[in-house]
C-alpha cells in the first residue's frame, strides 16, 4: 500500500514536472533575474546617472521642477531615489481622471543632483523580466492565470517530489559525478533538498500573492461577490479633501519626510503624491518605503495638508492577518534584502531554476536509454528534446540577445523598447527552429556556445557602445553597472564550460557508453 502511494506520487511528479517544467523554468529564471531588476534597469539605461543624495535634497529639486512645469496639475507623483534605484522620477496628471479610467500621466526623470531632465533610452529594463515572471507577456488576466496554475503545479511537484524521494536524509550530502543519469538525479535531488526551504517559501508565497485567483471562494462569500470591496478594505485609500477652489501656496515638502519618519519610528518615505498642488486644500500623501522590514508594507501612508502642513490622517497599524500575508509577500519579493542577502536570494533562485532544468533532462535521459541502440527516437521523445533545448539553452540565448539589443538598437528608434522585447522572442523562436533542424547534442552544444559567446562579449559591447565600461565603473564604485558586466562575464564562462563538457561527453559517449550525460548542473546559471 505504501509503495503504491509512493509510486503514484512518482508518477505525479514525473508528469506534472514535464508538462509545466518548460514554463516553470522560464518563470524561475526571469524571477531570479528580477531580484536584480533595478540593477538591470540601471545597466540598460546608462544615461541616468547613479548618484547618492539625500531624500530631502532630491525632493526639493523635484518640487521645484514640478512647480515650474506642472503648476496646477491635479496630481503629482514623486518617486524618491534609494540606494538601488538612484534615479529621481516625477509624474503628473494635468486633469483628474474620470472614474473607472486610468489617468494620463506625463513622466520625467531628473538628475537628483542638478534637477535637470535626464533622457534615458527607451527600454523596459529589468521590469521586462519582472513582468514576464508572472504575466508571461500575455494579455491580462490570462498570463496571471497561467502563472498561478504553474505555481500550483510547482507546489504539487515539490510535495510529490519529497514523498517520492526515499532517502532524503541518507542521501542528504550525496553527489556522485561522472555517472551519467545517476549524477543528474543526484544533482536534481541535491539542489532540490538542500534549497528546499527556499522552494517551499517561494512557491507557497506565490499562491498567497495570487490568493484571490487561487481561492476566491472565501472572499466572494464574505463580500457578497464583490472582490473590489475586499481590496478596498485591505488597501484603504487615503481620503483626500476636495478642492477648496481658492489658490494656495504649497509649503516646502522636504520637512514632511522627517515628520513621516517619526510616525513610522524611523521608516523612510518611498514616494509622495501631491493632490491639487495649487489649491488651498492641497494634500500630500507620503507612502512608506518597505525596504527596511521583511514584512511587506501594503501601503502605509500619512497625509498632510500641503499648505499648512497639518497632519490629516495616517493608515492604521497592520492587522495580524495582514502581517502574515505581508511576510509571505515580503519574503517572495525580497525588497528588504541588502547586497549580500540579495545575492543569496539570486543563488537560491538559480538553484530552483537548475532543479527544474535537471528534472527535464532526467525525464528525457531515462527514456532515451531505451532507444540508444537503435538510434531512432520516437516522435514524442524528439518533441520533448526539442522543447528542452529551446526552453533551457534557447531561453539563455534570448536573455543575452535582449541585453545585446539594448546596446545595438539606435537610441532614437521608434518603438525601441518594444523591439528589445521582440528580439528576445524572435531569438527564442529561432532557437526552437534550430533545435528542430540540428541533432540533439549538436543543438545543445551550439546554443550553449552561442550563449557563452554572447555573455562573454557583453562587457566588451558595453565598452564599445557606451562610455561606462568596466574600467570606469569599477573606479567610480558604480557596483550595479560593474556587477552586471562581471556577472555576464562569469555566466559566459560558465556556459562555455557547459558547452565544452557537453561536447566532450558526446564524443566519449560515442566511443564507450551509449548515452552518458555530462555534468551541466550545479547552477543553470543566468
Amino acid at each position: 500500500m505504501k509503495e503504491g502511494f509512493r509510486q503514484a506520487m512518482a508518477w505525479l511528479h514525473t508528469w506534472a514536472g514535464l508538462i509545466f517544467g518548460w514554463l516553470l523554468f522560464a518563470i524561475f529564471l526571469t524571477g531570479t533575474l528580477a531580484y536584480f531588476k533595478d540593477e538591470i534597469s540601471h545597466w540598460m539605461q546608462p544615461e541616468v546617472p547613479a548618484r547618492s543624495l539625500s531624500s530631502e535634497a532630491s525632493l526639493a529639486l523635484a518640487q521645484h521642477y514640478l512647480e515650474q512645469h506642472a503648476a496646477g496639475a491635479s496630481r503629482w507623483l514623486i518617486d524618491l531615489p534609494d540606494a538601488r534605484e538612484p534615479g529621481l522620477s516625477v509624474r503628473w496628471q494635468q486633469a483628474p481622471a474620470k472614474p473607472g479610467t486610468r489617468g494620463q500621466f506625463t513622466e520625467k526623470r531628473l538628475d537628483p543632483q542638478t534637477g535637470a531632465e535626464v533622457q534615458g533610452r527607451d527600454t523596459r529594463g529589468g521590469e521586462f523580466f519582472y513582468r514576464f515572471h508572472f504575466q508571461l507577456q500575455m494579455p491580462y488576466p490570462w498570463g496571471r492565470w497561467l502563472s498561478t496554475i504553474a505555481a500550483m503545479v510547482m507546489f504539487v511537484a515539490l510535495i510529490s517530489g519529497i514523498i517520492t524521494h526515499k532517502k532524503i536524509f541518507k542521501d542528504f550530502f550525496t553527489f556522485r559525478p561522472r555517472k551519467g543519469q545517476r549524477s543528474w538525479l543526484d544533482g536534481h535531488n541535491a539542489v532540490g533538498v538542500l534549497v528546499l526551504p527556499f522552494h517551499l517559501m517561494i512557491t507557497y508565497s506565490s499562491l498567497v500573492i495570487f490568493m484571490s485567483m487561487v481561492m476566491p471562494a472565501s472572499i466572494l462569500a464574505a463580500y457578497n461577490g464583490d472582490v473590489e470591496a475586499f481590496y478596498d478594505e485591505v488597501f484603504p485609500a487615503s481620503n483626500t479633501p476636495d478642492m477648496a477652489g481658492k489658490p494656495g501656496q504649497l509649503a516646502p515638502l522636504a520637512p514632511l519626510l522627517e515628520r513621516a519618519s517619526e510616525l513610522w519610528s524611523g521608516g523612510r518615505t518611498g514616494s509622495l503624491t501631491v493632490n491639487n498642488s495649487g489649491d488651498a486644500n492641497a494634500s500630500v500623501i507620503l507612502a512608506r518605503d518597505g525596504a527596511d522590514r521583511v514584512v511587506h508594507d501594503f501601503g502605509s501612508a500619512v497625509t498632510f495638508n500641503g499648505v499648512t502642513g497639518q497632519l490629516l490622517s495616517a493608515t492604521p497599524k497592520q492587522a495580524m492577518p495582514m502581517v502574515i500575508a505581508g511576510s509571505f509577500y515580503g519574503l517572495h519579493m525580497g525588497h528588504f534584502a541588502g547586497p549580500v542577502l540579495r545575492w543569496l536570494y539570486f543563488m537560491c533562485g538559480l538553484a530552483g531554476t537548475a532543479m527544474i532544468g535537471t528534472g527535464l533532462v532526467i525525464w528525457l535521459g531515462k527514456r532515451q536509454l531505451k532507444h540508444a541502440k537503435s538510434g531512432v527516437m520516437p516522435f514524442e521523445l524528439r518533441l520533448v528534446e526539442v522543447l528542452n533545448i529551446a526552453s533551457l539553452s534557447g531561453l539563455m540565448v534570448a536573455v543575452a540577445v535582449f541585453f545585446w539589443a539594448n546596446r545595438l538598437l539606435p537610441v532614437a528608434m521608434a518603438g525601441r523598447a518594444d523591439w528589445e522585447v521582440n528580439s528576445f522572442f524572435i531569438v527564442w523562436g529561432l532557437s526552437v527552429l534550430h533545435a528542430v533542424v540540428r541533432r540533439g547534442r549538436a543543438a545543445w552544444v551550439e546554443q550553449l556556445a552561442l550563449t557563452a559567446l554572447l555573455f562573454c562579449a557583453l562587457p566588451l559591447l558595453n565598452a564599445l557602445t557606451t562610455p561606462y565600461h568596466l574600467g570606469v565603473t569599477l573606479m567610480q564604485g558604480d557596483w550595479a553597472m560593474a556587477g552586471f558586466d562581471l556577472t555576464c562575464l562569469g555566466s559566459g564562462l560558465f556556459f562555455a564550460w557547459t558547452a565544452w563538457k557537453m561536447q566532450r561527453a558526446g564524443q566519449a559517449g560515442i566511443a564507450t557508453r551509449p548515452r552518458a550525460k555530462p555534468m551541466l548542473l550545479e547552477q543553470e546559471a543566468h
Binding site: F172, F175, C348
Partner: protein
C-alpha cells in the same frame, strides 16, 4: 551573517562526517560509534548556535531569513566542495570553526 555562515558550514561538515559513507570518503575509514555520536551531537549544536548567531545580530524577522539563506548555501557549498575538492572542504570546516570565536570577538 558571517558568523552564522561559519557555524553552519562547520555544523554541516560534522553532520556529514557522522555518516559512515562520507566519513570513509573524506577520512578513509569508518568512524567508531562514539565518534559518530559525537559528530552528530556537535553538528546539531553548531547549527543551533548558528541560528542564535543570526537571530541575535539582526532580530527574529531578518535573522531567520538570513539563517535559512546561509543554511541552504553552506550545505550546497559543502556538497559541491566534497565532490571536487574534498581536502578543501575539510580544511574550510576546520578554518571556519577556528575563525568563529574571532568573529564573535570582532563583533562584540
Amino acid at each position: 551573517m558571517f558568523l552564522a555562515l561559519l557555524l553552519c558550514y562547520g555544523g554541516f561538515t560534522a553532520l556529514c562526517l557522522s555518516m559512515d559513507r562520507h566519513h570513509a570518503e573524506l577520512l578513509g575509514r569508518k568512524p567508531s560509534a562514539r565518534r559518530r555520536q559525537a559528530m552528530k551531537l556537535s553538528g546539531w549544536l553548531l547549527l543551533a548556535l548558528s541560528l542564535w548567531a543570526a537571530v541575535s545580530s539582526t532580530g527574529w524577522g531578518l535573522g531567520l531569513v538570513e539563517w535559512f539563506a546561509v543554511l541552504m548555501l553552506s550545505a550546497l557549498l559543502l556538497v559541491w566542495l566534497m565532490t571536487y575538492r574534498p581536502r578543501l572542504a575539510l580544511a574550510l570546516a576546520g578554518l571556519s570553526l577556528l575563525a568563529s570565536p574571532v568573529a564573535v570577538f570582532a563583533k562584540g
